[in-house]
Amino acid sequence: MTVLKPQGVLRPGTGPVAWLARIALAAVFAFPLLFMVVSSLKPDQQIFGDLGSPAAFLPVGHLSLDNYAAVFDRVPAARFLLNSVGVSAVTVALGVVVNSMAAFALSRMRVRGKGIILTLVIATLIVPFETLALPLVWWVNQLPWLTANGFSLELTTGWLDTYQVQVLPFVANAFSIYLFHQYFDSIPKELDEAARMDGAGWFTIYRRVVMPLSGPAVATVAILTFLPAWNSYLWPLMVVQSEELRPVMLGVQYFFQLNVSWGEVMAYTSLITLPVVALFIAFQRAFVNSIAASGVKG
């Protein structure tokens, strides 16, 4: 029997050259991170002194946690981290639910003109956020919100300087809807019909049939929603004024004074990169799959 090799499929090499190439490529990406973490432990003079030699990437010389102590002295880093964790988690959770529901409706339900609706949703991806930012500021400033005032609720206008303004505008996401839609389309509709025979309604089909089969899509959307939420800079810069509501990325600017302490910059960026790296390690497989599935870089 002849075994046919698939044509045109790239297979990763396993020889020493391939491994060396992989290690070299990994080093290119790992060295900036390594430099950041190692430099965060060194005084400024040593950081600059080590530049241009391998010592820049090695934990050698006078090492201490002084830069980390200085970070917490200059910036309310713990508060910023808590804010970013909260904002990112809520954005991801609501994003998964809302976008999957929208995609479910477009994929499974009989909606007149759903092709046009989907096209219009996807078309919004063309508009860069920077174009929308200022009109969006005006818009969110007109929106109502219920605010707790003692034991009663008060209707107020304007979302500026709140947590919800950092979350809600980013819950509905055209790309997430598209991803869910494509994934839902690949799930056989016969499963819906079988569930219907058992008396299930649309919500039950969504909750009990389609979503449980959509783990990879959920992971992809969660990751692709989390990263921009965590890295968000322009929007909170425009809508958040109180220091206690600011996310981590705004904290980076605190360090750029007349005399920049690069050790502190490295310590702070190490701190705010740590959660992302931990998340990446925990969900490495899903992350790689999400990039492969979506065809985009996160």
Binding site: F48, D73, V96
Partner: protein
Amino acid sequence: MKTAVKRLLAASVVATALGGSLVACGSGSGGSGDGANGELTLWTHNAGNKEELAAIQSLVDEYNAKPDKKATVKVQAFPQDSYNDSVVAAASAKKLPCIVDIDGPNVPNWAWSKYLAPLELSADLSKNLPSTLGEWNGKTYSVGHYDVALALLARRSDLTAAGVRIPTIDSPWTKDELDAALEKLKGLGTWEHPLDLGTGGTGEWLPYAYSPFLQSAGGDLVNRDGYQSADGTLNGDAAVEWAEWFHGLVEKGYAAQKSGKDTTADFIAGKSAILYTGSWAADKARAALGDDLVVLPSVDLGEGPKIGGGSWQWGVTSGCKSAEAAMDYLSFTLAPENVAKIAQATGTIPATEEAAALIPAYAPGGANSIFREFSQEFAVLRPETPAYPFIATEFGKATQDILSGADPKSTLDKAVKDIDANIKSNGGYKG
């Protein structure tokens, strides 16, 4: 499958609850701070700048403790690099606080945009350095506690070794003298680039640092008679001659096309012989070099040495519902001891002589008093027009292009064309 959905929903609930608790923590902290409820919010660009922020907070605390205070002032600090964006966004949402600090050259633009109200202070501003007042259309919109001054820092030993005359405030270097000095210093072979002009700087540094050279050469950023065109001032013969000289510094190897990020540290480390910088660098350099440090006036390119005037100042917003209280706070901060407190914390030039007398380094004969003299003798305000932010951006781009070797005349012509088009499209920025 069922478990997976439950997990997802549970995670959603936890995340939403976490968000809710954060909202609970944060709610009520914002407040417009427009003075409607007896509380004024003050915005400053000093987040991360511990010394200046602490000095501002201490003034605020003192004011809040006064029995005759007219409101309670609350400080909200923003990082400097993103401060203007935060203000513009807040202004578009009509959420500006009562008191803001402003970089001096932006005052006319903010006044024209109706962000600011004219000041009506009980404090006497006539003794302030002119560069610490932000004016437009004949009205004062802002006042600063301090200014900064540009200068050349060098080592006396280096200049002596090269046989170069040490210039004074009465006898600064001419263009030819500076060129000759740089040639001699380069000839010593100690430095690849003997002059550090801070060419790695960005943003407002570019017009702040380099437009005074242009003015000293006889050009300017815009025709100050009506501020309606830059034609003839930014691209005239004097301006082109300046641009050719400026590029020549790089071409001859006297200055780097792009200097390091921390020019003071480079100078102290001996990477340059002469550093073009501001008064803020002097204390650090003096601490490292001691008596060998000499502070020199900027070069005279024909019209006398020029340095940029105008640093951060304070203004009251036009939407403030308690403007009288805001003015009262600002007047309080302008007492000589309060001006001295801020200037000392920032290592800057106090706005008044009375305040300077309270700081040994700036008192007559003090180590830094020369910067106050530079400011009095050579300071030129950046053009007091609402068009300034646009002009500054265009000039910054042109300067970088010229340093990179672009043709001076065509680069300046393009800047003029863009500036004139901007002024025209804004109706001449007339009040």
